[in-house]
């Protein structure tokens, strides 16, 4: 293979670093790339891809599917930070856990995930969906702090718990937390109690407290938090008319 890649600051041939096998497949319209082995130090797998399929049998490093526009990436193990950073379309499914900054843009940028879908079956780290502008992120496990920070649109569904500070600086969009959250930021105001939430046609059963914020930025984001898992938030109910 004549493809060139960077190893540290050295420009190398792809075939110098990996054993590469190719097979013709007349049926599929897009290419399928299967990675086997330990790829946890390999960055930018599937960056800017627009079609086709990548299957990673093992762990994968940072910036997976960065700015991808289409196609599909499946990771059977864990992914490091920034999976789907600033993605514009397509689908990423991580069977294990993900690091920090799922769907978040590169540091300094506000051009977060625009479209597409990221599914993480395990846990995810901090700042899930930072500066998100559209699309859907589903986390089946728990997330750490600052989920949906600065988000402008789109939906983040967290099936597990959240470590806190959910939705800081959010201007719009939806965050749904089905598990426990220690507290809600003081710049969020309670709006109503909803029996369930609809995410892409899937009905997530509640009931949920619906908060609006972040008021510090005149935001109109919606933060849904499970009522049953968070009995310590019942004090908010007295503000509901």
């Amino acid at each position: 293979m004549e493809l060139r890649v960077w190893e540290g600051n050295k420009n190398r041939l792809l075939s110098d670093l990996f054993s590469v096998e190719c097979e013709e497949n007349a049926e599929s319209d897009g290419l399928t790339i299967t990675l086997r082995g330990n790829f946890s130090k390999v960055r930018r797998v599937g960056a800017s891809m627009s079609k086709g399929k990548i299957i990673v049998k093992g762990d994968v490093g940072m910036h997976l599917g960065e700015r991808m526009k289409g196609g599909e990436i499946t990771v059977n193990g864990n992914a490091d930070s920034w999976p789907g950073g600033g993605m514009e379309g397509g689908r990423i499914e991580i069977k294990g856990s993900a690091g920090d900054f799922v769907g978040a843009p590169y540091r300094g940028s506000i051009e977060g995930m625009k479209n597409g879908m990221i599914i993480v079956h395990g846990d995810a780290g901090r700042e899930v969906g930072c500066s998100m502008r559209g699309g859907l992120i589903k986390i089946y496990g728990s997330v750490k702090h600052f989920v949906g920070i600065s988000m402008r649109d789109g939906t983040i569904l967290v099936r597990g718990n959240c470590a806190g500070k959910a939705g800081a600086e959010m201007l719009n969009g939806r965050i749904i937390i089905c598990g426990y959250i220690p507290s809600i930021l003081p710049t969020f105001t309670i709006d109503s109690i909803r029996p369930n939430v609809d995410v892409n046609g899937e009905k997530i059963p509640g009931p949920f407290y619906r908060f609006l914020g972040d008021m510090a930025d005149n935001g109109e984001g919606k933060l849904f938090v499970s009522k049953n898992k968070n009995p310590h938030l019942t004090a908010y109910e007295k503000y509901l008319l």
Binding site: N9, P105, Y106, R107, G108, S109, I110, E111
Partner: protein
């Protein structure tokens, strides 16, 4: 080494040479009339265009402001990385490139002299350190003096001569080249959360008006006899309706003209040429400004062209940068430089489909095309405010081709297109005029006698572009023009080939040009002592600055390659 460049089409406007086939001889870093060809490297430039090395009169490339811009914008760098090569260093680029990359990229485009136009005097040391790390090209830097307390105090008290002494000391102390004035009075007023409204709005506590500052510093400039005029960023920059302020600014020094020499340079004029009274009805004031410039000899301009791209705005105009932050909601930096000036940085994206941005794009080109005399307007983007300097070839193609302009016009906001004057302008720049607006005119305005031309005695700074003016009609072949100007076939700096086909082949250090006014006060004592400085200066340093007087002055030995220009002061 001796060089001879053979059979190229020479464009050397300062010597009136318009595309003639001539040979250029270089010896010891200078252009010479003739020599015998023994031990001479011959460059065959047949079918190519030869111009003096490019001169950029206004580009923010060094100093604390630019450096803060670099810190602020990791996302600007991440997708533009240049790896290390045998003789070049690695770096990152785009709108605020690292110092080394700045030097390489200018050299690749055939530029050999660039001016950093806004240096807070307090940050001069930092600026010079970064300029030293900007390789290949020669540099000069302009200290910001329009809101310096000493200037405000002395001008208020009518003490022009004392003001000139202080300014001359400051130019020498900061190793500066010209007087830069940014939003005169407005920056001091910004310290109190406001901006000046027009040329006659007094500055709080000082009671002096922007008009008095501009006139005063223009007189000071005449007394010190600096090679460049005052370099003015107007009041109300970026506000709809500001074209009137711009014309008033140019007009307020008209009566000071004693010779044919220009008196005032209005920089990045596009940002100061808005009509209307709100962003909704903002439109072009280029026609009025061009009309004024066409009828007056005392003014020069540079474009400050906008290109549709993601860039970083940075200026000493703190109040304007705050407005820009409010408009864009983007991250921002704002800073007060004690006693002297302010600054601000906001990343910004110019969008084709935005009415205001598209109109700004149109204004820049209208100015360049409506000002009849190319010696009065120069090509800049106010890098990186309008766009990174790497977009110059694109702007050259717009200036040279109506077709190229039409192509972009089709893609912009329809309301802006309907109001644009561009469809009614059929002027197209020739190669000769391009050579004026990108090098000769700028060198003349800067008063650099050995730059911007190819006559005997000039520095051997030469750019050779692979474009045959007899074969290519730039009006139709604008893409070839753009390609040629983005990658000089040869860039020659002080007689050495530094870039070949877009590859850097040699990395010499550039000179720092600075002005050394022969101050009678400074001359009496020993060469570097400050025993004869204005007496209040040392005391006021104690009172106002956080930096001690003795640490402030930059000695000449601090510059790696110093190129002082001695001038006689007309006391």
């Amino acid at each position: 080494m001796n060089l001879i460049i053979k059979n190229g089409f020479i464009y050397d406007p300062l010597n009136g040479i318009d595309g003639e086939i001539m040979d250029i001889c270089v010896r010891n870093g200078r252009i010479v009339e003739d020599f015998n060809e023994h031990d001479t490297r011959v460059i065959d430039a047949s079918g190519m265009t030869v111009m003096p090395g490019g001169v950029d009169i206004h580009t923010h490339i060094a100093g604390s402001e630019v450096n803060s811009g670099r810190l602020l914008r990791p996302e600007d760098h991440v997708y533009d990385v240049e790896p290390r090569k045998t003789i070049t260093r690695s770096g990152v680029g785009r709108s605020v490139p690292s110092t080394f990359i700045t030097g390489y990229r200018y050299a690749r485009m055939g530029y050999t002299m660039i001016c950093n136009p806004s240096m807070p005097p307090l940050e001069a040391r930092h600026t010079h350190e970064e300029l030293e790390d900007t390789p290949i090209v020669d540099k000069a830097t302009f200290p910001l003096l329009g809101d310096w307390w000493f200037v405000l105090e002395h001008l208020r008290n009518g003490l022009i001569k004392e003001c000139a002494e202080h300014v001359a000391w400051m130019i020498n102390a900061t190793k500066g080249y010209a007087i830069k004035i940014v939003n005169p009075g407005g920056l001091e007023t910004w310290g109190f959360g406001r901006n000046v409204k027009d040329l006659d709005d007094p500055v709080p506590n000082f009671g002096i008006t922007p008009r008095e500052i501009i006139r005063g510093l223009c007189l000071v400039n005449q007394i010190i006899n600096l090679p460049h005029t005052i370099h003015v960023h107007t009041n109300r920059l970026g506000q709809p309706g500001n074209y009137i302020t711009t014309i008033e600014t140019m007009d307020c020094v008209k009566d000071l003209a004693k010779t044919e020499r220009p008196l005032i340079h209005i920089t990045h004029c596009q940002f100061s040429a808005f009509k209307g009274d709100s962003w909704q009805n903002m439109r072009s004031g280029a026609e009025e400004i061009a009309k004024y410039v066409n009828h007056h000899k005392h003014v020069t301009l540079d474009m400050g062209q906008v290109v549709f791209t993601d860039t970083t705005t940075m200026t000493a105009d703190g109040p304007w940068q705050y407005t820009l932050y409010e408009l864009s909601g983007n991250k921002w930096v704002n800073h007060d430089v004690e006693v002297e000036t302010s600054s601000g940085i906001v990343p910004f994206k110019y969008r084709r489909k935005s009415y205001v941005h598209a109109t700004m794009w149109s204004i820049g080109l209208e100015l360049a095309l409506l000002v009849d005399d190319p010696w009065k307007i120069y090509l800049t983007t106010d890098h990186p405010n309008g766009a990174p300097f790497t977009t110059y070839p694109k702007i050259i193609s717009w200036l040279m081709s109506e077709k190229a302009r039409e192509k972009t016009l089709k893609k912009i906001n329809s309301k802006a297109r309907a109001k644009s004057l561009l469809p009614s302008i059929d002027r197209e720049y020739s190669f000769y005029e391009i050579a004026i607006v990108t090098r000769a005119g700028q060198a003349k305005a800067l008063g650099l006698k050995n730059k911007g031309h190819l006559g005997a005695g000039a520095d051997a700074d030469i750019a050779i572009y692979n474009i045959d003016p007899r074969e290519i009609d730039p009006s139709k072949g604008y893409k070839a023009v753009r390609r040629a100007f983005s990658r000089a076939t040869y860039t020659i700096k002080s007689g050495e080939i530094v870039a070949r086909d877009g590859e850097i082949v040699k990395v010499p250090d550039g000179k720092i040009y600075w002005v050394n006014p022969e101050l009678p006060l400074l001359q009496k004592g020993s060469s570097s002592s400050h025993s004869n400085i204005p007496p209040d200066l040392r005391r006021k340093f104690r009172e106002y600055w956080t930096v001690e007087f003795d640490n402030y002055f930059i000695p000449e030995k601090y510059l790696r390659i110093s190129a002082p220009i001695r001038i006689e002061v007309r006391w």
